[in-house]
């Protein structure tokens, strides 16, 4: 292959794959150096000015929150049946078995007819997730046969005290106080 055809082929390759060519200024010294000093400076000034016109891209976090994707794995939620209000969790402990971080503790108890807590035979008398250990892998969600536990969208869980990070069943069943924004379709 001659040098010419090589460069022609390389050129068409560059055209096809949308490669941005590296822009280099001329070598220092002489007329090129003068251009380098002034032309390139003006180009830089133009670049910064267009940044100024575009405006800031900052998301001012505590006031504005970054929207999350629908599949974002945040803090867990426990669910109830919408019609009967019974808990979906039947206390089978499959989530605790699936958990690689060993952060879920379930103590099951028998449902008493008349004051049923869950739809199944048994219910979770104690359901605790230690969020300081949780790695947010979502295996509990996959393991659950009744879709009783899902990963929510909250990511603001920092606390000053480790004991506050052990979430009880009541906390996990309740709606989060502050909702995290979701990304819209086109984002």
């Amino acid at each position: 292959m001659s040098e010419q055809t090589f460069y022609r082929q390389a050129g068409s390759y560059l055209d096809s794959v949308d490669v941005v060519e590296v822009q280099r200024g001329p070598e220092p010294g002489g007329v090129g150096g003068a251009y380098r000093a002034f032309g390139e400076t003006l180009r830089g000034l133009k670049t910064t000015m267009s940044r100024l016109i575009e405006g800031p891209l900052t998301i001012e976090y505590p006031e504005e929150k970054t929207p999350v994707y629908p599949r974002f794995r945040g803090r867990h939620k426990l669910h109830r049946f919408e019609d009967t209000g019974l808990e979906k969790c039947v206390g089978c402990s499959l989530c605790a078995a699936a958990c690689p971080a060993d952060c879920i503790r379930v103590v099951a108890a028998e449902n008493i007819p008349g004051e049923r807590v869950s739809s199944g035979e048994r219910y979770a008398a104690v359901y605790e997730i230690n969020l300081s250990r949780c790695i947010f892998c979502g295996y509990c969600e996959i393991a659950c046969p009744f879709d009783a536990i899902t990963m929510g969208h909250d990511y603001e869980m920092a606390d000053y005290d480790r004991t506050n990070l052990i979430f009880t069943k009541e906390m996990l069943l309740a709606e989060p106080i502050e909702r995290t924004p979701l990304k819209s379709e086109d984002e």
């Binding site: 000093a37 830089g44 000034l45 910064t48 000015m49 940044r51 100024l52 405006g55 800031p56 001012e60």
Partner: protein, 335 residues
């Protein structure tokens, strides 16, 4: 002539109380602008980088300088053990003095009802600016040298080299304007720009003056004496508390002074459409526009290397400025 001060060759003399009132007003205005300038610079630099800049303290972050000064004042004015104490204290004071003195000759308006809208119209005009402006460099030199620290010493040496590289080009850049107007007085120079601003015929002089102005005020791309990356603020390394704060304050004051001189020499000073009382506002607007250029350049250009700085000063700016003076001289004589 009792009660009158014939300090300047201005065909009239002003009474002492007018002088005092004028100096208080100029002081108040400039020292009200300075803190705002610091926060405006940080906000602009932020926006040049797609950020907001400070916006937490007060509305739009405008109280940020108050918080900064409060922090600096409450800090210990530390002095290294092997520093030369008198010179160390003198270091930050000299630039403040020079900045305040240089403010006096910035013309804010013409003479109206026997009162000149400027601190003082000295007949040597622009020479006064050079004389007083160079004192500021003594502050940097003494401060850096007396700190007893290698970084400070390097910063001071760099500022000395920078001074001798740029002061000459700066003077030559202004010489063209002086030849065209036939006067050294800044007020007379502004009056001579009634028709055409000197930026049009003296564009080369203007560019060289602004370049030298960046060097004079230790701003990027010529902030070699400070060089926060490699010299940890250079001559300011050992300073803390309000001594450090006054170095920072002076930087902004020098920017204002250089912008003011450039506005008066090249941009027609107080000239602008509208009634006479708008004159100081036009002057201020032109100054702030030049300050914006200072900030814009700081957001854009990296610091020059030491040899590049010397090359630019001696091999480019000095011949260019000399050529500019020669051509202007020939044109002035011919026309």
């Amino acid at each position: 002539m009792t009660g009158l001060l014939p300090l300047a060759d201005t065909q009239f003399a002003e009474s002492i109380w007018i002088m005092i009132a004028k100096s208080i007003v100029i002081f108040a205005v400039i020292f009200a602008i300075l803190p705002i300038l610091t926060v405006v610079e940080r906000k602009l630099i932020g926006r040049f980088q797609h950020r907001y800049g400070p916006n937490r303290v007060g509305p739009f972050g405008l109280l940020q300088p108050l918080a900064d000064v409060g922090k600096l004042i409450s800090k210990e004015s530390f002095r290294p053990q092997n520093a030369i104490s008198t010179l160390f204290i003198l270091g930050p004071l000299l630039p403040v003095l020079s900045g305040v003195l240089a403010l006096a000759i910035i013309p804010w308006g013409d003479v109206k009802n026997g009162v000149g809208f400027y601190g003082i119209d000295v007949p040597i005009g622009i020479l006064y600016f050079f004389a007083v402006g160079s004192i500021a460099f003594y502050g940097l030199l003494l401060g850096g040298w007396s700190s007893g620290s290698k970084y400070s010493l390097l910063g001071a040496m760099r500022s000395a080299a920078q001074l001798i590289s740029y002061e000459v080009s700066m003077g030559l850049a202004l010489l063209g304007v002086i030849m065209m107007s036939g006067s050294l007085s800044l007020v007379d120079i502004v009056r001579a720009q009634d028709g055409v601003w000197y930026i049009a015929p003296q564009i080369v002089g203007f560019l060289i003056f602004m370049l030298a102005g960046f060097a004079e005020t230790n701003r990027t791309p010529f902030d070699m004496p400070e060089a926060d990356a490699e010299l940890v603020q250079g001559f300011m390394t050992e300073y803390g508390g309000m001594r450090f704060g006054s170095f920072l304050l002076v930087e902004y004051m020098e920017i204002l002074v250089v912008s003011g001189i450039a506005a008066a020499m090249f941009l027609g000073g107080w000239m602008g459409p509208g009634p006479g009382w708008l004159d100081p506002i036009w002057m201020l607007l032109k100054m702030l526009a030049l300050v914006f250029v200072f900030i814009w350049v700081r957001a854009t250009l990296p610091r020059l290397r030491y040899d590049q700085l010397m090359t630019l000063g001696w091999k480019v700016l000095l011949p260019l400025a000399t050529l500019n003076v020669l051509v202007t001289a020939i044109l002035v004589v011919v026309t």
